[in-house]
């Protein structure tokens, strides 16, 4: 679940979710990512490579990685819970991905799954039984072994209804049971085939220590995490920082890491700084080494500065897009929704709001339900290119005539649409562009929980639903009728309130399909359906704009684009 509502949640929660097995159709966007991360600073940063060398010591690229030092990583929200079985809020994930390892990992260079805690795995022909053979000799931070029993414990814990896990894949009741075959072999049985399972395994199912859970209890484990990852928790100052230190016994590095053995950094400090300007100031003063969610204007100001380097993690899934309420007038009319989609000039929005990122191919215009580069992306659903004449024509034919104040009216009602967001930028430009076609867009910029609550209460027409995921199954979250919020007490993310049997079937079939070609086709049809009915207003992609000190070396992000692999990272002097 994206988890955009509920009492204990603040800020933006876009969690990585189920992603797709296989998929060599990934297009240039994704491939670009791998090189962008490495070359970003030098190539795009106004060719300041030589300056940077001069400023940071001319042997930066020649010397061998240095062991030691503390990396300070600024995050934009409070860290609340470090329990991968039960939680999937992005800020927490950034931290607990360093403490807990998954069974397998997605290699973003070829988009294939590679071993991590599992040495190898098989999938039965009917797609319902997965067998994992574990890497021998791996232990949790408390010394207990990572064995078949522990893996079974983890699967059972994630799917224990009593614990009401908010980790991503648990909303779907596909899991049946796990079976210990021998100490290092575990078999997982599913009730039905579930296409996104391997992808979910690659990030969401991270192994926690059963002994650690038993010691403090299920509820408190998130405060006393014990995993098998390259770092372990040493200090937690509420609302200020979380300190991790190197796990000296770490040996279970996956092949995609650039080196084996324990991590290079002594410590990693995650410092919570919610105010963007304060984060930037902390980076400039040297107080922190890495900041995420860098504001565009500061990114523009600092990306040529030799003291810093930009790293863009480009993110698949759903970008910066707004769900359109299809039950509340006037957006219950498909013509109105299509007109909005035709009436906005996405390239202009991207250059006005996110101009600084454009040369990094981040925050680019988006026209589909998924962003380009996501596996199964459907180019044919890009139908809404800027066409104000067509937008006006659609509205005219639907009976919305221009009134005396320039805003359209029908039966005495003005064409007013309420759009909320938790960030300034896009809404203001949308408002100005839509006025030109006679739509009065009422914009509200509030905190995330108010924005989501307003949409749930039907007070607004449009609400943002970005969600970074590697699997197209993310579409179920926002468009499947079972995920309508409030329905059967659910916390679904279907903020467009779409109840479309055609779409439901496509999404259900897509999730159950194991044949990759068929699966890809189902999701392409789903994307086409969503855009034809204009259930969504996609605007731009939504990526991870990170700025870091030039001292930080070899810091890479995973396939979702937001989660750093800190095992390989090191600090130059």
């Amino acid at each position: 679940m994206r988890g955009r509502s509920g009492p204990a949640r603040t800020g933006e929660h876009e969690n990585n979710g189920p992603a797709q097995a296989g998929g060599r159709h990934r297009v240039s966007r994704r491939r670009f990512l791998t090189t962008a991360a490495v070359l970003g600073a030098g190539v795009a940063g106004r060719g300041a490579l030589s300056n940077r060398l001069g400023a940071t010591g001319n042997r930066v690229f020649a010397i061998t990685p240095r062991t030691g030092g503390a990396l300070v990583y600024a995050v934009d929200q409070p860290i609340t819970k470090l329990d991968p079985n039960l939680d999937a809020h992005r800020v927490n994930e950034i931290v607990f991905y360093q403490i807990f390892d998954p069974l397998i990992v997605r290699d973003k260079s070829d988009n294939k799954f590679k071993p991590w805690l599992a040495r190898s795995w098989d999938v039965s022909a009917d797609g319902r039984t997965y067998t994992f053979r574990l890497r021998p000799g791996v232990t949790f931070h408390d010394g207990t072994p990572v064995n078949a029993e522990a893996v079974k414990f983890n699967f059972d814990r994630v799917h224990n209804p009593a614990l009401a896990s908010q980790a991503t894949p648990t909303a779907v009741g596909f899991y049946d049971s796990s079976e210990v075959v021998d100490p290092l072999t575990v078999r997982v049985h599913l009730k039905s085939p579930w296409g996104p399972f391997l992808d979910a395994l690659s990030f969401s199912y991270r192994m926690v220590s059963p002994a650690g859970v038993r010691k403090v209890g299920d509820k408190d484990f998130g405060r006393h995490p014990v995993g098998s990852g390259p770092f372990r928790l040493v200090e937690w100052v509420e609302n200020q920082q979380v300190v991790l230190e190197r796990n000296p016994n770490y040996a279970s590095t996956p092949s995609i890491f650039s080196r084996t053995g324990q991590a290079l950094l002594d410590r990693v400090v995650f410092r919570m700084i919610p105010e963007p300007a304060t984060r930037v100031a902390a980076l400039e003063s040297g107080e922190v080494h890495v900041i995420t969610a860098t504001p565009a204007q500061d990114f523009r100001r600092l990306n040529g500065d030799p003291r810093f380097k930009p790293v863009i993690g480009r993110s698949p899934g759903m970008g910066w897009c707004w769900a359109i309420n299809v039950t509340k007038p006037p957006t219950d009319e498909v013509a109105v929704r299509q007109a909005i989609n035709y009436g906005i000039d996405r390239p202009a929005i991207a250059s006005i709001v996110y101009g600084a990122y454009q040369s990094y191919h981040a925050f680019e215009p988006a026209y589909g339900a998924l962003v380009p580069g996501t596996w199964s992306y459907d180019k044919q659903s890009e139908i809404y290119h800027y066409d104000p004449a067509k937008a006006k024509d659609l509205l005219d034919r639907a009976g919305w005539k221009v009134g005396p104040d320039g805003i359209r009216q029908k039966n005495g009602k003005r064409l007013e649409i309420v759009l909320n967001s938790w960030e300034h930028g896009i809404p203001e430009v949308l408002q100005s562009q839509l006025r030109a076609i006679g739509v009065d867009l009422k914009v509200g910029v509030r905190d995330t929980s108010s924005v989501n609550a307003a949409q749930e209460k039907q007070d607004s027409h449009m609400s943002p639903i970005p969600a970074a995921r590697t699997d197209p199954d993310i579409l179920s979250d926002s468009f499947h009728s079972r995920n309508i919020p409030g329905l059967s007490g659910g916390t679904g993310d279907n903020y467009d309130f779409v109840k479309d049997p055609v779409l439901d079937r496509l999404l259900d079939d897509g999730a159950a399909e194991v044949n990759l070609t068929k699966r890809e086709n189902l999701y392409k049809l789903a994307q086409r359906r969503i855009m034809a009915m204009a259930y969504l207003l996609p605007v731009t992609t939504r990526d991870n704009a990170t700025l870091m000190s030039a001292k930080v070396q070899d810091l890479r992000f995973d396939a979702v684009g937001f989660f750093p692999w800190l095992h390989d990272a090191w600090l130059a002097r």
Binding site: A277, V280, Q297, R301, S351, G444
Partner: protein
């Protein structure tokens, strides 16, 4: 019996006071009053200083520094900052006018009634006022906005009622001073009804206090209104408003100082001028300072 407050002497007194008032415009209070007049003129007619639509987004002019065509530069959407400040003056002054009207009207009625009728009614009302006064004004305003939802109209009500308790207390105490004057008791003795006494005898004698309160309240209303908009609870996009402009510009201090510094300076100068002029008005009207 209608003559305890005669109009004629009052008017000549007023004229003399105005002369004295103008005569006292020395030091900074002259420029301050001039500045307020300029801001008020711009609020009435923003076209005086701005040649642009304050909501016009220009992609080619994003964060342009101050120059000839845009004396205050442009903001992150390429909108002319001077135009936004000018139209923002209209938003802010209108906001403060309405909010102060609400608070003055509410407090004058409550304060004068409580003072005149006294007894159980007075005790009940004043205890309620005490409870409300326990909350700082901005907090009270925040509570009202939380109940009514964000928006300029809601913020107006919030600020109006946020100021009212303090004002009501001041009005009551000054009305109490008048309450037992001989002319009031005389009016009562000959059977003038209560509402008439309030209107003809009480209000005219406390209106100076009310005027001072209004001047100071006006400045405070601008400030609280800007604070609410800064927090995103007042003016909504694309309405230009000083506090909202500061709120959006605070992320640009390092890269484009003019987006925050210029609206901020105008806001600060307006508040300072209002307070200086407010002091003048008090000097003029407070008998103890004469």
């Amino acid at each position: 019996m209608e003559s305890t407050v005669s109009r004629r002497p009052d008017r000549t007194l007023g004229r003399r006071r105005v002369r004295r008032f103008v005569g006292r415009f020395r030091g900074v209070s002259g420029p301050a009053a001039m500045f307020i007049l300029v801001v008020a003129a711009v609020a009435v007619c923003p076209r005086l200083v701005s040649a642009y639509d304050p909501t016009l987004i220009q992609g080619s002019l994003i964060l342009a520094p101050p120059g000839l065509s845009h004396p205050f530069g442009t903001d992150e959407y390429g909108r002319d900052v001077l135009s936004r400040v000018a139209y923002g003056a209209r938003t802010s002054l209108r906001f403060a006018l309405f909010a102060t009207s609400i608070s003055i009207a509410a407090s004058a009625i409550v304060g004068a009634f409580a003072a005149y009728y006294g007894g159980r009614f007075d005790r009940l009302v004043m205890r309620l006022v005490d409870v409300l006064m326990a909350f700082p004004g901005i907090l009270l305003a925040l509570i009202v906005v939380a109940l009514l939802g964000p928006g300029l109209g809601q913020a107006t009500i919030a600020v109006g009622f946020g100021q009212a308790p303090t004002f009501a207390r001041v009005v009551r105490s000054s009305a109490l001073g008048v309450r037992h004057r001989l002319y009031v008791e005389a009016a009562e003795a000959v059977g003038v009804p209560g509402y008439r006494i309030l209107w003809r005898h009480l209000f005219p004698n406390i209106r100076h206090t009310v005027l001072v309160l209004a001047t100071l309240g006006f400045a405070e209303a601008i400030l609280i209104g800007a604070s609410l908009s800064f927090l995103g609870l007042g003016a909504q996009p694309p309405t230009p408003e000083w506090g909202a402009m500061l709120g959006e510009a605070r992320g640009y201090l390092a890269s484009a100082w003019w987006t925050a510094a210029l609206p901020g300076s105008v806001l600060a100068a307006t508040l300072l001028s209002l307070n200086i002029v407010g002091d003048q008005v008090r000097d003029l009207l407070d008998p103890r300072l004469r």
